[in-house]
């Protein structure tokens, strides 16, 4: 039986990631339907099942020992499944900043309902179902949140100086729309951090909000948010 710390599966995970990254243009990851993603995910799951049957057996053995209270086996299991869960999260959420959050939520769910794993059954379908359902829920929440975003053109127009020409106003309004949409696509935690620090001009040390409780976490969230916004908005205007 494989022991905790056995890293034979790493090459397989690298293959999964390479497949996952190369199988579909990244720009299309945002426009594919959930059904398409589900089909692609199943094909990846089949591929990975063929190439890494050992992983499933190792994970199953570790989980059986974790259910008996073996902390070492449990830690090895959780570390080992992270790349697999991350690959699933990328399939459903695209190149989103929510991947790490999704992976962590799946790990917590695995911990909470680990009693539902039956050691005589394969481990990968059990884990895959939990991970895919959680990612679908996150994608749905993101979609609902984006629909609730309110865009107030009049309020934006009032921000401009009176001396602007109609062309300037139109251009600024379009820029504001782009920024607003990009903000709407951010994870809630990041959006809150950006609002507090950049819109409300509250220092990270004094910015209380639900998503990130420590100043360090707020700074990290802001950093990630700016990186995501830069990627979403592209290069700045050329003179």
């Amino acid at each position: 039986m494989a022991q905790p710390g056995d890293r034979r599966g790493d090459a397989t995970f690298a293959r999964i990631d390479a497949h996952e990254g190369g199988g579909l243009p990244r720009t299309m990851a945002h426009v594919v339907t959930p059904e398409h993603r589900m089909g692609t995910l199943h094909s990846i799951a089949r591929d990975s099942a063929e190439t890494s049957a050992d992983d499933g057996l190792r994970w199953s053995g570790w989980m059986a020992r974790a259910q008996a209270g073996d902390a070492t086996a449990y830690q090895a299991l959780l570390q080992s499944i992270v790349p697999y869960v991350r690959a699933i999260a990328r399939r459903y959420l695209g190149a989103s900043s929510e991947i790490d959050d999704a992976v962590q939520e799946v790990l917590i769910l695995v911990h909470e309902i680990r009693h539902t794993y039956e050691p005589e059954r394969p481990f990968k379908p059990w884990l895959g179902t939990i991970a895919s359902r959680r990612c679908i829920d996150i994608a749905r929440k993101r979609s609902r949140h984006a629909r609730r975003e309110v865009f107030d053109e009049d309020a934006l127009a009032q921000l401009h100086d009176d001396g602007d020409t109609p062309e300037d106003l139109h251009r600024r309004r379009q820029d504001a729309q782009h920024v607003h949409r990009a903000l709407g696509r951010l994870a809630p935690r990041m959006r809150e951090a950006v609002r507090h620090v950049y819109f409300d001009e509250t220092p990270p040390d004094a910015a209380p909000h639900a998503g990130a409780s420590t100043p360090g976490a707020i700074k990290v969230a802001c950093h990630r948010a700016l990186k995501t916004l830069k990627a979403a908005l592209g290069p700045g205007p050329t003179p």
Partner: protein
């Protein structure tokens, strides 16, 4: 060390022994034992209807009752299958044949009544509505027990599990109520019994996600 590594370390230090979930068949039998006790209690309080032997001597009635019981049993078994991560969703189709047998029995009963009673077989009887109330009230404890037994389903397939759980509980309750109430035409049984089961199971499916979120799944820290 990133957040995920910290989380893994945190979770692994908190791991405690847990007992793996029992197989679906054993859990179904456990639920059926509870359900049978509850229905037997209701029947004992209300009293078995007069001429129950004659009722089951009629093939349409017998077919309808067996279909109702089997729908309840198979829906419960399917609930324990689909609510577990990794088990196939296709188990949800398991109660469908029994459901068709039940509906066939009801349809046959309607034709039988029409031949026997003429236009009176189509008469609407509002008083028979108490059957639907009895089914709903009996279903409540049965559904509650079943939903609690599969409360982890909220993580996996909340709507499907809630639908199957309500279908199982309501179908068994309908079979139990058949032992109590009498004097209804088959059309009224179709309307109030099958109608109550359909409404309850579809309502549970619609609110499955918030329902399981409210119940909360068993957490093993």
């Amino acid at each position: 060390m990133n957040d995920t590594d910290l989380l893994i370390r945190h979770l692994s230090t908190r791991v405690r022994p847990v007992r793996p979930i029992a197989p679906p068949l054993r859990r179904t039998l456990a639920w059926l034992a509870v359900a049978t006790c509850i229905i037997a209690l209701v029947v004992a309080i209300e009293g078995v209807r007069a001429g129950i032997g004659d009722v089951f001597a009629s093939p349409p009635n017998l077919l309808e009752w067996i279909g109702s019981v089997m729908t309840g049993v198979l829906a419960a078994y399917a609930t324990f299958q689909v609510s577990v991560p990794g088990r196939p969703r296709a188990w949800a189709l398991l109660p469908v044949p029994a459901l068709l047998v039940w509906l066939t029995g009801l349809g046959w009963g309607c034709l039988h009544d029409a031949a026997r009673l003429g236009p009176a077989a189509l008469a609407f009887e509002a008083a028979s509505g108490e059957c639907a109330v009895a089914i709903a009230l009996t279903s409540l404890p049965l559904s509650a027990v079943l939903l609690l037994m599969v409360r982890h389903a909220g993580v996996v397939r909340p709507s499907l599990s809630a639908w199957l759980a309500a279908l199982g509980a309501a179908s068994l309750s309908a079979a139990g109520v058949t032992l109590i109430h009498s004097g209804e035409t088959a059309l009224m049984v179709l309307l109030w019994h099958a109608g109550a089961v359909a409404v309850m199971s579809l309502a549970c499916m619609a609110v499955g996600r918030p329902l399981f979120a409210w119940i909360g799944h068993a957490r093993h820290g």
